[in-house]
Amino acid sequence: MPPLEVTGAEVSSFNAFYRAEFASIAAVAAALCGDRASGEDIAQEALSRAYRDWQRISAYERPGAWVRRVAINLATSRHRRALTEARSRWRLTESQVVDPVLPDAALPDAALWRAVRTLPRRQRQAVALTYVDDLALEDVAAAMDCSVGAVKTHLHRARQTLANRLASRDGEDSR
């Protein structure tokens, strides 16, 4: 069975890792969820999963990539669940499905991140890891389990889509 006890040295190592990574992972998850509290919860859960098997995870070349992959999957899962709930409400009310993400108006640039969340899943993950976490392309690729070329493609398509959406939104704002 997996190790249950964490040695003193491992605790120190995990604590340093946690302090270095928590805010970045929470910010990435917040961008993907549209909600800071959810972002923090997701970061906590992802890091908790690392802690319970830290002896093994810490031996990886990029433990941060492992935790980020768990976090972005959890964010996707949360988004899917919100969609399911919205669908249930729709069945009950027979009204239109509302945006399942309840955006946190207090988030800076909330409208921009709302536009990011309408991108396809892999594109929005690449955007969050690149621009919020400020990771190098190699690290984004490791977290997304894909090639650097694929990350570049996701980012390029994301920026193209966002350019058009921002243009129409800015046009509406200026009218």
Binding site: F22, R36, S48, R80, R117, R121, A143, A163, D170
Partner: protein
């Protein structure tokens, strides 16, 4: 704030700069309000509480085993023995040796049975799978259309019921020797699905949702000369086998969201998202995604 000339879409560089600034602001915003030390203490004490409850779980398991053993000795009639819950998790040599990138995350060393309710403030967190699974919160729904051969409808219903019950072993028992769950091959769908669930993906929920969608036309399987024709294969969603229509897209988007569905089609419009196939004779052939 707009950073581009009004009336034309911003350039790639302009969007890049805008995202970079917004990303930095968001990161700063989150980091400024996070009390990392408090969060870390919460995590460590939560794990410590779980560890404290392990011996109780082990003792409870041993006690239960002793009671069952006593029943076997004293019972005048045959006793059907259900397998005992696994209080300690799989042995180390059954743990997949995973690592980043792209590997799944480790299984929970302490199952939920030994967890006191008050020690789990996040018990309802959908991502915290434990012995539960993503399909547990779904309702069984009737297939959208009838007309399936009986053998297919029977296995479809059995798959849905097993998935809703998070019965991984039951699901695996419904597969056939020809069953495919990964293009990388493999003969252990249970571990594969469990790893996906623990990594925050939702294979069992997606399976249930797919099988509630309209089925595609039964596809005849090409056979060589002189061979008896095989029963057709019935596939979900119908976008996999039928020409994609707006209605097909809409039913997928309503179930899974437009963002996810956009990833499931090639630029040429071919569907390669998650899909299920059952042969007309009731043989469950595949539940795969990707190409």
């Amino acid at each position: 704030m707009t950073t581009h000339t009004e009336g034309r879409p911003p350039t790639d560089d302009e969007v890049d700069r805008r995202l970079r600034m917004a990303g930095a602001r968001l990161h700063e915003h989150v980091a400024a309000d996070v009390d990392v030390d408090t969060r870390l203490s919460e995590l460590v004490s939560r794990r410590a509480r779980r560890r404290r409850w392990l011996p109780i779980g082990v003792v409870a398991g041993a006690t239960l085993a002793a009671i069952v053993a006593a029943m076997i000795v004293t019972s005048p009639s045959p006793v059907v023995i259900e397998p005992l819950p696994d209080f300690t998790g799989p042995p180390q040599d059954e743990q997949p040796d995973v690592g980043p990138p792209g590997e799944s995350e480790p299984s929970e060393p302490l199952p939920d049975e030994v967890e006191p309710p008050e020690a789990r403030p996040d018990e309802t967190d959908p991502a915290d799978v434990g012995d539960d699974c993503s399909a547990a919160q779904l309702d069984e729904s009737e297939p959208s259309e009838g007309g399936l051969p009986d053998a297919v409808e029977i296995i479809r219903g059995a798959i849905v019921r097993a998935a809703l019950a998070c019965d991984f072993e039951g699901l695996a028992a419904l597969t056939s020797d020809e069953f495919s769950y990964s293009f990388g091959g493999g003969t252990d769908p249970i571990t594969h699905w469990r790893q996906q669930e623990e990594a925050g993906e939702e294979p069992l929920a997606v399976l249930v949702e797919l099988l509630a969608l309209p089925v595609g036309d039964g596809q005849e399987v090409p056979t060589g000369d002189g061979q008896e024709a095989s029963p057709p294969i019935w596939s979900w969603p119908r976008a996999y086998t039928d020409p994609t229509t707006p209605a097909h897209l809409a039913e997928l988007e309503q179930r899974f969201g437009a963002e996810a569905v956009a990833d499931w089609f090639t630029p040429d419009g071919d569907y390669y998202g998650p899909r299920v196939g059952i042969r007309g004779d009731g043989t469950w052939l595949f539940y795969v995604a990707g190409d």
